[in-house]
Amino acid sequence: MSMNNQGRPTGVGTAGTIASGSALLPDEPLLFEIGDTEHSGVDLPEVDLAEDRLGGFARKSKLDLAGLTEPEAMRHYVRLSRLNHSIDSGMYPLGSCTMKHNPRLNEKMARLPGFSDIHPLQPVSTVQGALELMNQLSHWLMTLTNTAAVALSPKAGAHGELLGMMAIKAAQEAKGEAHRKIVLVPESAHGTNPATAAFLGYSVKPVPARDDGTVDVEAVKAALSPEVAAIMLTNPNTCGLFEPQVIEIARAVHEAGAFFYCDGANFNAIMGVVRPGDLGIDAMHINLHKTFSTPHGGGGPGAGPVVLSEALAPFAPVPFIKRVQDGLDLVEHVEEQALGRVTAFHGQMGMYVRALTYMLSHGADGLAQAAEDAVLNANYIKARLEHLFSVPFPDYPTMHEALFDDSFLKGTGVSTLDFAKAMIDEGFHPMTMYFPLVVHGAMLVEPTESESKQTLDRFCDVMADLASDAKAGNTERFTAAPMKAPRRRLDETRAARQPVLKWERPDDLPQAAE
């Protein structure tokens, strides 16, 4: 797919690409079943330790670590990789995950020795370029959100949530309001929201959603009290809708002496188009690995910088960047620092390089266009499928993701899970399933701006065909799926009842009771 300077994808569209057939995908043994403890794929000079300074703490116990030669390692990891679906292989419509294309310029820039081969504790005078990069990234994030400060250091979105809520807690204490022990969280929220609040000792009070899928400011007002420290709201929300009363909600929250934490996981729908600071947020984490294209890497690493309002800026953690006479300084200690630090060193520099590269490539105009394209694509899917699928919240245009529930499957004997597994046989990675929890059998589809119309049409054709087939009673296609993937459905019950979490030599295993 080419990202020309108009930003609109122009590819011919990608068909389903999940490979199947055993000729290309033989079963790959575990590395411990291939290698042994004598072989190594790394040439290292030998050294004789005539004496040591280990104080008697030298290793006596066995390591029993298998090694592979370089050709063996190449084969093992290349073959394993081919068992994975990936964005580069095909569309990945996972709602809430923003599986957009990961530009390769990001990878090239992250590997410049001036970024990858610098140590966080080198003298600050030797890393002025790194500090300048962090400064520029901060400027982009604050400008896009219209906020007063940003804490770059959190290592993931959930880590950012933790930081943002810690800042809110510190701010309440500074105001003499430490008795506020309640946090309001909509029922549709991602699990990290209540987990974070509980982690910090808050009790979580759920806020119900309206029938149209949005939060009613009156419900918020009813839940507010002098005991409430904050509300945690996702906007656009987990049902893919922009909260129309968000400004009134922010006002009510502030009037009640509480703070507004915004879960920014869905920022891709509004970047360059709406500034969360204008809506009244006090803290918002941004997932660089969602909105700003840093790669998902099979589950991480992420990066979750948190933008902060004027009210919360004094409660940012260390470290942060400060301009001084002859350049930039990294402030790592502040006397009355309310927060301290939430990670060793300075944060996910490798992800900052990638994100800034992406931002510079797109520019403010390109980012806004990406948001608009993401919203356009999600609405297109909804429009093409709504007559066959069930849309629980049809009152508003959807944002960057379309939510369906399983009402349309009622009586077919096909569940959301079965439907998803059948999509795999058609070459598509399933959408997010069973989230958000506020609808039954949720299917959350997020195409992102990276998919061309041709790919979207192919996707919708397949989805429509599946829906019709389910309604026609062809259950076998669904309940037996997937049939063409490297593995059939896996026994998750067995994995949980009898956890086997590492490889053990057959002769080391205890006798299995039959």
């Binding site: 069973y434 998750e492 019950t493 949980a496 009842r497």
Partner: protein, 121 residues
């Protein structure tokens, strides 16, 4: 022995001062394959409606609430090694814990078999 039910799908089989507590067949069907049971501590004092135990399936965790107030006097440790018993015999060998009932009047306000059956229609 009488067996009573709660709207949350717990049952209590009352035998004198002791009640045997578990979840109903309907409940285990809804939960799917049970993989783990977090049993209460023996001696724990529960009020009616307190969280007593947690039942985990692969994709969900559900709290089990005390149907009446009392003290936990025995737990079914078989469930630790065989959580699947909760699926195969929820109202028999898959019982979860036994309570020494504090106030037998609380039992009267629970649902009887017909009342519970109406709920799960």
């Amino acid at each position: 022995m009488t067996t009573k039910f709660t709207p949350d799908h717990e049952y209590i089989r009352v035998d004198g001062e002791t009640g045997i507590v578990g979840i109903t067949t309907y409940a285990q069907e809804q939960l799917g394959d049970i993989v783990f049971v977090e049993l209460p501590a023996i001696g724990k004092v529960l009020k009616k409606g307190d969280e007593a135990a947690v039942v985990e399936s692969v994709k969900a965790a559900s709290e089990i609430y005390a149907p009446v107030s009392g003290e936990v006097v025995e737990v079914n440790s078989l469930l630790t090694s065989e959580p699947g018993m909760l699926n195969s015999a929820p109202e028999g060998e898959g019982w979860i814990f036994k309570l020494k009932i504090a106030d037998s009047a609380e039992i009267d306000s629970l649902l009887d078999a017909d009342g519970y059956a109406d709920l799960t229609l």
